[in-house]
């Protein structure tokens, strides 16, 4: 035994360790692979031994080999062995190896779960640390799910070393197992304020990383981050936070306003360039998000630009680069502030660093104006000459074209100049962008009518000198230009000065060396030219000239007929036959020119690139519907393409068809080849005639051509763009003088004759008029084109799963205990299902009717009331203060709501503490954002309820104030209310019908009950019958004009909604919305979408995603309104809910259609979850006595209306029914869709109304009482 150990250790002495391996690899430079393969064999031997030290050594070496690119996955199990060693030095090696080579499909990973768990809970912090580090690299969804809890516990470890690592690895866990984000988030948030800076920084990093992908869910953390930003001195953390704010600001412009100041301070104070740069970047993001409306931010822009200039001027290339990068961001929104630094940026074009030059080019793109375009392009052309034979030159070329053609040639005043620039660019050697230049030429020639004469002349010259571009292989790219040149000359041949010459040029034998598609264009356009030439010649002279031209065609075309290219061949033979026929006619002295011209008559209009895609599907055409009965599954596969065609959009099907065809063609070709090979009589193709031709004259070896190519000649006739610059300068000078004269004389308005496009130019450039009338023909689009196509996000993005609304999460977490307690009582869930049953029965079944005398309870009530009154007095004072504050703040938040009383939050706080704090959480942000000073903690706390109130205005409107049409009310009515009176009536009718139905039901119950009970209830039901009631409506404005007014004044559709608890399903709420078109145009394609919260979700048709909108099933002609209903599922009903939503629609006017949207907030009040349910006084009494109802009360003062009106209001707006009424006292009942009982005792005496209420859900009760209070406070 001892001997064995000794032998083992001696063996080990001869084992190679990592250093030996590295040294060995060095020493075997010439046969490295061989050496390594012997090493691997050795390692395999070592791994077979039992000694863990040997194994660890082997794994260590494997890790190194893995780094060199060798696959070591075969050793995965051994790695696991080493990982599970108890000795730290080995364990570390194991984990290192695992982190290098394990991945999701490594199957041994599942063996590690328990080992890792053990290591995580090891008393040795380094064991835990190494496990965490390793796990971060190879965590799989399974591991994440199994270990999430362990890691979460580690987040509160005593050692910061572990906490830090645990926090960081949580990010990986979230990615693999998104469900863990919800439970882990509160703790993660906690770590933002960890005492250890390392842990804090880790938490910041994780949240920043999460927030970068789904920023909107993290907005509520902004105050916390803001605090960190103003307090932290750790630059790494600061950088991250500032970057995060950069991502958040686009979502919340108010945040930007708040950030500007501290960021500016940081910019001034910091000495760290990295921090400065990030600050500047975020300030830019803020300025972008604020966009136009903030004139006083020019100082910030100036500061940024100034700092960036310092960066750019720095000798450090890195700073220069970043400066330019940031500058380009400013450029997008504030081009003027950047333009003043043109000098600097042009300087950067000379920089030796290519990345910097490219950045500078990017900047130039945005800096051009009508004034400086020529100058800038001239500079760029100089650079083009300098930068010979580099990719940078290609980059320059594309940039020049980009710059000139941007926004529909907005900055070009002189198209002759532009054409000449393009022509100059064709002389570049070795560029790959011939096609780009060609398409520009075509585009300009087609769309700018006025330039055609000039363009045609230029193109003719190009064709004449085509030999400059062909021949040399290097210049291949550029010959694409000839494609454009030939087409332009052919299509606009009427502008040619000497069409005959061009025709000859196009039929030169050398053309046959061009690529096939260009030859094809040559042939086709030769025919066009031929037509023009014929026409000219027939007009002038006798027939001989025309016949000569035909002869020329007949002589030259056979060359193309022999072409190997099908397209060329076909066109050529067609045209050849045609010309031959023409020649025959000519010989008979028949005038043919007219008819030949007619072949090519008509003008081609440019069509927008996406036009085809955007043709809307005509109404009534259902592309998904089967045209014929769908084929049965058993049918042959040949039917398949048909089915696809019927199903898919046309663009897809087209692509697929060609694919099929190609495949088929290939197959056929293959078959044919085989056949031919087997057929002894088949004559195989001789070398093509074209090739023979090429070789015969030896074109490629003519030395003259070579010389031509290496020296960019100035071809006579080709204008230099510089001349145009000069000319243009002169022209502008002249114009200016003229203008001055004119102004002096007449002070008349500016000259007309400017292209439509040019009106949009910046003001300073308005003096410059374009050289000639330029009408840019706009591209054709189909009618009713749909303006946007949606870019889908990458479906594989792991971050998509992490898009979790964390605000609601907090809410939910706080509410969870409630939900749990609810679940403990199975009776209730049962009750919810049969919501219509009379509550009395439930009460009976549930409670063994406590026999406590009623008096006692009422006494208690009274006492409680006193307490409450005391509370109320206190809170009133507070309220006043807050109200004051609120008013100071003005209307910056939710404008126009300033009159709303601040009631709700007060009560929420008193009655139901937890939900109040929830609401505070959510709307904390709103408050924080609206408040200028940096919030101290105390302030924040105090502010919370206020914020809740502030967030409430929308709920208040929605909670059914509808007091407007009350006769004794001085308040002004909202215009929408009157407009929709029609609907109101309809609505009321409906309501009545419902009530009647209910009454019937009630009767039913009544009988049922009287059978078993005995005591008859009195005055059960609503009070409607007593006296005519003032009209009421539950309709209220949903979308304020506040959003709309900015977008368009003329057509703001108003929407009103009504939320109604619906009985159909326990947790469904139906919202019916009336859409009214207020503008003069047709509204269509309305899409209604709501951002679901965890609690409330819009019910969407099956198969649609959670973010898809619902199409509103109608269109709205001007002035018409219509109603649509939407169903929502609600989980918890104890709190009111707010959902953000958007309505998108297309406003179609006569000549245009615009995409518009309207944001709204849908508010579900708690009252909307209540259902008017009749109840009988005996059952009611039992319910009250049962003792499991919580008590609360509210006092309304200054209510000036008859008691029955008051009751009617409560019945109507809050869905109660009167149980019993005695003089000025009434008991009322309602129940929620989830079966909570709500009982009210309403008493009135001299304008004071007291409502004592009981409910088994205190939170719900509190909220309902608030809403009642609100209803009456608006009277």
């Amino acid at each position: 035994m001892a001997l064995k150990i000794v032998k083992g250790s001696i063996d080990r002495m001869f084992d190679k360790n990592l250093q030996d391996l590295v040294r060995g690899i060095r020493n075997h430079k010439e046969d490295e692979a061989k050496y390594i393969s012997t090493c691997i064999d050795e390692i395999k031997q070592e791994l077979k031994q039992d000694n863990i030290a040997v194994k660890a050594n082997a794994v260590c070496k494997l890790t190194y080999l893995q780094m060199l690119g060798y696959d070591v996955s075969w050793a995965a199990f051994n790695i696991v062995e080493v990982m599970s060693s108890s000795k730290f030095t080995y364990k570390r090696i194991g984990y290192l190896a695992a982190s290098q080579c394990f991945h999701e499909s490594t199957d041994v990973i599942m063996l590690t779960t328990n080992q890792i768990r053990k290591d995580l809970s090891s008393p040795n912090q380094y064991d835990t640390g190494v496990a965490l580090t390793g796990l971060s690299c190879f965590v799989t969804p399974d591991l994440a799910r199994d270990l999430a809890n362990d890691i979460m516990t580690l987040m509160s470890h005593t050692k910061p070393y572990i906490r830090k690592k645990a926090v960081l690895i949580m990010y990986k866990v979230f990615l693999k197992y998104p469900e863990s984000l919800r439970p882990a988030f509160p703790r993660l948030k906690e770590k933002l304020e960890d005492p250890d800076p390392g842990v804090q920084s880790a938490a910041v990093n994780v949240i920043c990383e999460l927030a970068r992908r789904n920023p909107k869910n993290y907005l509520s953390l902004a105050p916390l981050f803001f605090k960190l930003m103003t307090s932290s001195t750790n630059n790494w953390v600061l950088i991250k936070i500032i970057k995060l704010f950069g991502a958040l600001t686009p979502l919340e412009p108010r945040l930007g306003k708040k950030l500007i100041e501290p960021l500016t301070n940081l910019i001034h104070s910091t000495s760290a360039m990295s921090l400065l740069y990030e600050c500047v970047n975020t300030v830019i993001a803020v300025l972008i998000s604020l966009s136009s409306g903030m004139p006083n931010h020019s100082a910030s822009i100036q500061l940024c630009v100034q700092k960036l200039r310092i960066l750019i001027e720095d000798s450090d290339q890195n700073l220069k680069y970043l400066g330019l990068l940031a500058m380009s961001k400013i450029l997008k929104t504030h081009p003027k502030s950047v333009q003043s630094h043109k000098d600097l940026i042009l300087q950067c074009l000379d920089d030796k660093d290519e990345s910097i030059r490219l950045r500078a080019l990017d900047l130039l793109y945005g800096m051009v104006s009508k004034k400086n375009l020529m100058e800038i392009v001239k500079k760029l052309m100089l650079h083009v000459d300098k930068a010979e034979g580099t990719t940078y030159r290609d980059e320059l070329l594309t940039k020049i074209i980009d710059i000139c053609s941007q926004s529909n040639y907005q900055y070009i005043t002189n198209f002759e100049w532009y054409i000449s620039i393009l022509v100059e660019l064709t002389r570049l050697e070795g560029t790959r962008h011939g096609q780009l230049i060609a398409s520009q030429m075509l585009d300009v020639a087609i769309r700018v009518k006025a330039i055609r004469v000039f363009a045609v002349a230029q193109m003719a010259t190009l064709l004449d000198n085509a030999h400059l571009m062909t021949g040399n292989v290097q210049r291949k790219g550029i010959c694409e230009v000839l494609y454009a040149a030939a087409w332009i000359c052919g299509e606009f041949s009427e502008h040619l000065e000497n069409p005959m010459q061009t025709l000859e040029a196009m039929l030169r034998p050398k053309v046959a060396t061009l690529p096939g598609h260009i030859q094809a264009v040559y042939v086709q356009n030769a025919a066009k030219l031929f037509a023009t030439v014929l026409k000219n010649q027939e007009g002038n002279t006798d027939g001989t000239a025309a016949q000569e031209t035909s002869q020329l065609m007949i002589d030259r075309l056979p060359l193309f007929v022999q072409s190997a290219n099908l397209e060329v061949q076909e066109r050529a033979s067609c045209i050849l036959q045609l010309v031959k026929y023409i020649q025959k006619l000519q010989q008979k002295d028949v005038e043919v020119a007219e008819e030949v011209i007619a072949l090519f008559a008509g003008e081609l209009n440019p069509v927008a690139p996406k036009a085809q895609k955007k043709v809307p599907v005509p109404e009534g055409l259902n592309l998904d519907a089967w045209i014929n009965e769908p084929p049965s599954e058993s049918e042959s596969e040949d039917e398949q393409p048909k089915a696809i065609f019927a199903k898919e959009e046309p663009k897809h099907s087209r692509a697929r068809h060609t694919e099929v065809d190609e495949k088929e063609l290939a197959k056929r070709r293959e078959v044919r080849k085989q056949e031919q090979a087997n057929n002894p009589f088949y004559i195989k193709a001789s070398p093509s005639s074209q090739k023979v031709y090429q070789e015969a004259p030896g074109v490629e070896h003519i030395p003259v051509v070579q010389i031509d190519l290496s020296v960019p000649l100035k071809v006579p006739g080709l204008p230099m763009s510089d001349q145009y610059v000069k000319l243009e300068e002169e022209r502008r000078q002249k114009e200016r003088v003229e203008k001055k004269k004119k102004e002096k004389k007449k002070r008349k308005e500016k000259r007309s004759g400017r292209g439509k496009k040019h009106d949009s130019g910046p003001e300073s450039e308005e003096d410059i008029t374009p050289a000639h009338m330029v009408d840019i023909v706009t591209e054709e689009m189909p009618e009713n084109a749909l303006p946007s196509d949606d870019d889908d996000k990458d479906p594989n993005d792991p971050h998509k799963a992490l898009d979790i609304d964390l605000d609601n999460l907090v809410e939910m977490a706080a509410r969870r205990p409630l939900a749990d307690s609810e679940k403990k009582l199975p009776v209730r869930s049962h009750r919810a299902a049969e919501a219509l049953k009379s509550p009395a029965e439930d009460a009976e079944a549930e409670s063994p009717a406590s026999q406590e005398p009623k008096k006692k309870s009422s006494k208690e009530k009274r006492e409680k009331k006193k307490d409450k009154d005391g509370d109320r007095k206190k809170s009133k004072d507070e309220k006043k203060k807050k109200k004051h504050k609120r008013e100071e703040k003005g209307e910056d938040l939710l404008g126009g709501q300033a009159d709303e009383p601040v009631v709700q939050s007060e009560e929420t706080r008193e009655v139901a503490a937890p939900p109040a704090s929830n609401a505070a959480e959510v709307s904390d942000l709103d408050f924080w954002l609206s408040n200028a000073p940096v919030p101290s903690n105390a302030q924040e706390k105090e502010a919370a309820p206020l914020a809740a109130a502030e967030a409430a205005p929308v709920p208040e409107t929605a909670s059914g104030p509808a007091p407007d049409s009350e006769p004794d009310e001085p308040k002004d009515t909202e215009p929408e209310e009157t407009k929709s009176s029609k609907h109101k009536k309809k609505k009321q009718k409906k309501e009545k019908e419902e009530k009647e139905k209910k009454k019937k039901k009630k009767h039913h119950h009544h009988h049922h009950h009287s059978d078993g009970g005995g005591e008859e209830s009195v005055q059960n039901g609503t009070v409607e019958e007593e006296e005519p009631l003032p009209p009421m409506s539950n309709y209220c404005l949903l979308a304020e004009n506040s959003y709309i007014k900015m977008v368009k004044i003329t057509f703001s559709p108003t929407k009103e909604n009504d939320i109604q608890g619906n009985l159909q399903d326990g947790s469904q709420v139906v919202v019916s919305i009336i859409f009214e078109n207020k503008c003069d145009n047709f509204l269509k394609s309305m899409e209604f979408n709501v951002l679901d919260s965890l609690n409330s979700k819009l019910q969407r048709p099956e198969g649609s995603g959670p973010h898809d909108g619902l199409t509103v099933p109608f269109q709205l002609p001007p002035g018409v309104s219509n109603e649509a209903r939407f169903v929502f599922t609600v989980q918890s009903i104890v709190m009111s809910q707010k959902l953000k939503g958007t309505l998108t629609f297309i406003e179609k006017s006569e000549d245009s259609s615009t995409h518009e949207k309207l944001d709204f907030k849908l508010h579900f009040t708690c009252s909307s979850y209540l259902i008017t349910t009749p109840c009988y006084s005996d059952a009611f009494a039992k319910l009250l006595e049962s003792g499991d109802l919580k008590c609360s009360s509210v006092k309304l003062e200054g209510v000036n209306m008859p008691f029955h009106h008051l009751l009617a209001r409560i019945c109507f707006h809050h869905h109660f029914s009167v149980v019993e009424r005695v003089d000025s006292c009434a008991s009322m009942y309602s129940r929620s869709i989830q079966g909570h009982h709500v009982c009210l005792l309403v008493k009135t005496s001299a304008q004071t109304v007291t409502i004592d209420a009981k409910c088994d859900e205190p939170t719900l009760l509190g909220n309902v009482l608030d809403e009642i209070k609100q209803t009456f406070s608006q009277c």
Partner: protein
């Protein structure tokens, strides 16, 4: 986030490779080759940022590198990292730390390693290195 840290010598031989996102071995080597190709043809006096390594990441990713004597230190990061911050990290942290690891292969000519590095106001304490 940092996607990968690559350290290789002037000939593109990997000296320390760490990917924080799984790639198969061949892919890793290809990335190293491509990165080396991109980085090695750049002068020393040009900026240290590179956009458009096609293999790793995509448009959101940047290569940030430094070249010390015979070694290239390349970080592949996405846009949530501060460019200058990463440069500081390389300069301050890495040029010192892997000295231990890299000097094991004995071809390291690191610049003079200071005890304390001050870059702007980022202060980095260099751990004392055990001499090999």
């Amino acid at each position: 986030m940092i996607k990968a840290i690559l350290i290789f010598n002037n000939h593109g031989k990997p000296r320390l490779i760490r990917f924080y996102q799984y790639f198969a071995e061949e892919m890793q080597q290809q990335i190293i080759r491509e990165t080396f190709h991109l980085v090695s043809k750049r002068d020393d006096n040009v900026c240290n940022f590179l956009e458009g390594g096609s293999l790793i990441g995509g448009s959101d990713y940047k290569l940030i590198y430094r070249h010390y004597a015979t070694l290239y230190f390349v970080f592949c990061v996405d846009s949530s990292e501060s460019e200058l911050g990463i440069l500081d990290l390389i300069q301050g942290g890495l040029s010192a730390a892997p000295a231990r690891a890299v000097s094991a292969v004995k071809n390291m000519n690191l610049p003079e390693i200071p005890r304390n590095i001050n870059i702007g106001d980022l202060n980095i304490k260099v751990p004392s290195l055990s001499p090999f």
